[in-house]
């Protein structure tokens, strides 16, 4: 039973345009949501997070939106740059679980010139 789902395995976007990565979850008790970026043969790097009590968090080119009623969050990257090409993982945190995170399967973003 996968509690965090990223239904798009890949996404291709032109440089300068907006990239939108989506994530759905099933457990309404998740307290925080995080996005990580991962290059091949490297560990994931934290990008941005959002508390379940907020609906938007912005950090530079990255914005995360949370729709609790739909159990859906999205990561917007504007403008997209070639260096953004990587695999993006959505993760969710359940309180009282030793800070364990539940990860989605990832979306591979390719930003083309």
């Amino acid at each position: 039973d996968q509690q965090v789902k990223q239904n798009s395995p890949s996404l291709s976007v032109q440089e300068g345009r907006i990239s939108i990565l989506n994530c759905d979850y099933t457990n309404s008790m998740f307290d925080y949501f995080l996005w990580y970026k991962k290059y091949p043969a490297e560990g994931p790097t934290f990008l941005i997070s959002i508390s379940s009590i907020k609906d938007k968090n912005e950090d530079g080119r990255f914005t995360v939106f949370l729709n609790k009623s739909a159990k859906h969050l999205s990561l917007h990257i504007v403008p997209s740059q070639p260096g953004d090409s990587a695999v993006y993982f959505c993760a969710a945190f359940l309180p009282g679980t030793a800070s364990k995170l539940t990860f989605g399967t990832g979306t591979r973003l390719q930003v083309t010139l």
């Binding site: 996968q2 965090v4 395995p9 307290d31 925080y32 995080l34 990580y36 043969a41 490297e42 560990g43 994931p44 790097t45 934290f46 997070s49 993982f89 945190f93 030793a98 800070s99 364990k100 995170l101 990860f103 989605g104 399967t105 990832g106």
Partner: protein
Amino acid sequence: EADIYQTPRYLVIGTGKKITLECSQTMGHDKMYWYQQDPGMELHLIHYSYGVNSTEKGDLSSESTVSRIRTEHFPLTLESARPSHTSQYLCASSLSYEQYFGPGTRLTVT
């Protein structure tokens, strides 16, 4: 800047060998984690630790074992490597909900 280190970065080893993957962090985080990830798949938690002398099995069953004798050090050991253990192993640490990851160890068992 997160400071968490893993060695070796790449390891190719024969079946039946004993291996230890090293993980160290300099941030003083109490919680540490080991994940296993295959290409195109999600990260699966295989071990975690609340602090010194505390270790727990994760959500994915693993034949590996871990120890936490010092706060900064969380090594993972495979007593007898098999080809099914071929994967990327990622170590992480945290204070709260945000986890910081090391660069990973790509293990290949032939």
